[in-house]
């Protein structure tokens, strides 16, 4: 039992890596998703088509594969191009997660932006607001409210998806738990890891409910 008391600090270390993947992914993928959403609605096909292709590849292939491809891809690139680019494990994970989640967020944001009626744009235009003012002061605040529920789903999935980072030997929570499972020959480490994930998502669920309530001041 005294052995097991060491377990929590060990797993806590892994959980910090998990949180880092989670936080950095959100930090990069949300702004990137917004940009991609806007580009996908461009009136120019030359912009729209590549963006659509990007989204369909990101959503149509496993994230696991994307992580592996980005990490090992640099080695193959160096070999064939004679370059010397080295992508470390952790940055590779962050890149893969960010570009993958950006695609999902982009589709959510695009749906949100397109759900705003054209009357809002016309009213803003008639008042002399510029396109930028209209987007940031009129459209975006309303989009935020509409995309919160769908974004909450993605964010909660992301917490669990961080466990995929172990495929290129990033020692996040799940990788450590598996190692401890072997050390202790017990299912208990996995059980504790499960509690970590569950509590994190419980906190996030409460946070999103709170945000939804906060944004409920108008319809």
């Amino acid at each position: 039992m005294s052995d097991l008391s060491n377990l929590i600090p060990i797993l806590w270390g892994g959980f910090q890596t998990t949180l880092a993947i989670f936080g950095l992914t959100l930090l990069f993928s949300i702004p990137l998703g917004l940009i991609i959403a806007v580009l996908k609605m461009s009136k120019y096909r030359i912009v729209r088509y590549p963006v659509s292709f990007y989204i369909s590849v990101m959503r149509g292939t496993p994230l696991l594969l994307q992580i592996v491809a980005i990490y090992f891809g640099s080695y193959y690139l160096n070999e064939s191009l004679g370059t010397d680019i080295i992508v470390d494990r952790f940055p590779a994970v962050i890149i893969a997660f960010s570009i993958n989640y950006a695609a999902y967020f982009a589709e959510i944001f695009r749906g949100g932006i397109q759900s705003i009626g054209k009357g809002q744009y016309e009213a803003a235009t008639m008042l002399g607001l510029t396109k930028t003012q209209t987007f940031f002061r009129i459209i975006l605040p309303q989009v935020v409210k509409r995309v919160v529920p769908a974004s909450a789903n993605e964010v909660i999935t992301l917490v669990k998806d961080t466990s995929l980072a172990q495929v290129i030997a990033v020692t996040e929570l799940f990788a450590l738990a598996k190692k401890q499972q072997a050390v202790y020959a017990s299912i208990y480490p996995l059980f504790v890891a499960g509690i970590f994930y569950y509590v994190a998502n419980l906190v996030l669920s409460c946070l999103f409910s709170y945000i939804e309530r906060k944004l409920d001041y108008y319809k």
Binding site: G119, A123, T125, L129
Partner: protein
């Protein structure tokens, strides 16, 4: 020199504040506006009536730059919306004026929508002050003072902090009129301002518009409220199938014109 200047000024005063000549607009093969010409003097009220699909709203949207026109000329407060003669008598698409001129025309026109189009995430007062602060560069204090003054005028004192969803349709429409007035437009356009309202709420909007008319606000009103169109207007236009069938004083259009399409339209309304 001073004599010349006076003459120029006098000429300017006699120019109509809105002049539309031979305006045409199509959506594909659908010729929505065929050859529209009219003008309006400062301080006058124009009512535009006619059956649904006659092109009334499209006409308003062309003048307010929410739609582009195909041919013809529009002059607002002495400024040309399109370069005169650029349509080569309707044989070519019109060329619009430079962006700076278009913007100046935009700021001299206000539009009140059928569906209000208030910004739901902003309070009543924020709806009104947003554009004066962000577009005209007014200080927040100035804009708020103006907003409160306009709300009082609209009979909406104490609603500053309410959100649009907390107001009745009639109150929302009065906020949207205040929002348009806050930009101090030279001409205010109304696109069926009471059509989205319950019948018992239309009266409060019509009263507000009548008050504005009494204050000599130049207005163009597309409406299905016939009695109102007659009472408030200095001038009435009856449109059908994309053309102006009849125009003149309310008395002429409603009582004296013997036009068949007009009388059959008016009699349909009399039955309701």
């Amino acid at each position: 020199m001073s004599v010349d200047k006076n003459m120029v000024d006098t000429n300017k005063d006699s120019l109509p504040i809105l002049k539309v000549s031979h305006l045409k607009k199509s959506f594909g093969d659908n010729h929505v506006l065929k050859d529209i010409s009219f003008d309006l003097n400062e301080g006058e009220v124009l009512s535009i009536i006619g059956p649904s699909g006659s092109g009334k709203s499209t006409l308003l949207r062309c003048i307010t730059q929410l739609e582009t026109l195909d041919a013809g000329e529009v002059n607002v407060d002495g400024k040309d919306l399109v370069i005169p003669g650029s349509d080569m008598n309707g044989t070519r698409p019109v060329k619009y004026a430079p962006a700076k001129v278009l913007r100046s025309i935009r700021l001299s026109t206000g539009l009140v929508f059928q569906n209000f189009n208030l910004f739901p995430h902003l309070t009543v007062l924020q709806n009104i002050t947003l554009a004066p602060v962000r577009v005209l560069g007014d200080s927040r204090e100035e804009a708020r003072a103006m907003g409160r003054f306009l709300l009082k005028r609209m009979g909406l004192e104490g609603k500053e902090k309410a959100y649009p969803c907390e107001l009745s349709g009639g109150q929302q429409q009065r906020v949207s009129i205040a929002r348009a007035l806050a930009m101090n437009p030279r001409i205010l356009f109304f696109d069926e301002p009471t059509s989205a309202l319950d019948p018992e709420l239309t009266g409060e909007i019509l009263k507000v518009i009548k008050d504005l008319a009494a204050d000599k606000m130049t207005m163009v009103i597309v409406t299905h409220e016939m009695a109102f169109a007659r009472d408030v207007a200095d001038k009435v236009i009856f449109m059908d199938k994309g053309v102006i069938v009849e125009q003149g004083t309310p008395d002429f259009v409603f009582n004296q014109s013997g036009n068949e399409r007009l009388s059959s339209f008016l009699s349909r309304f009399a039955q309701h």
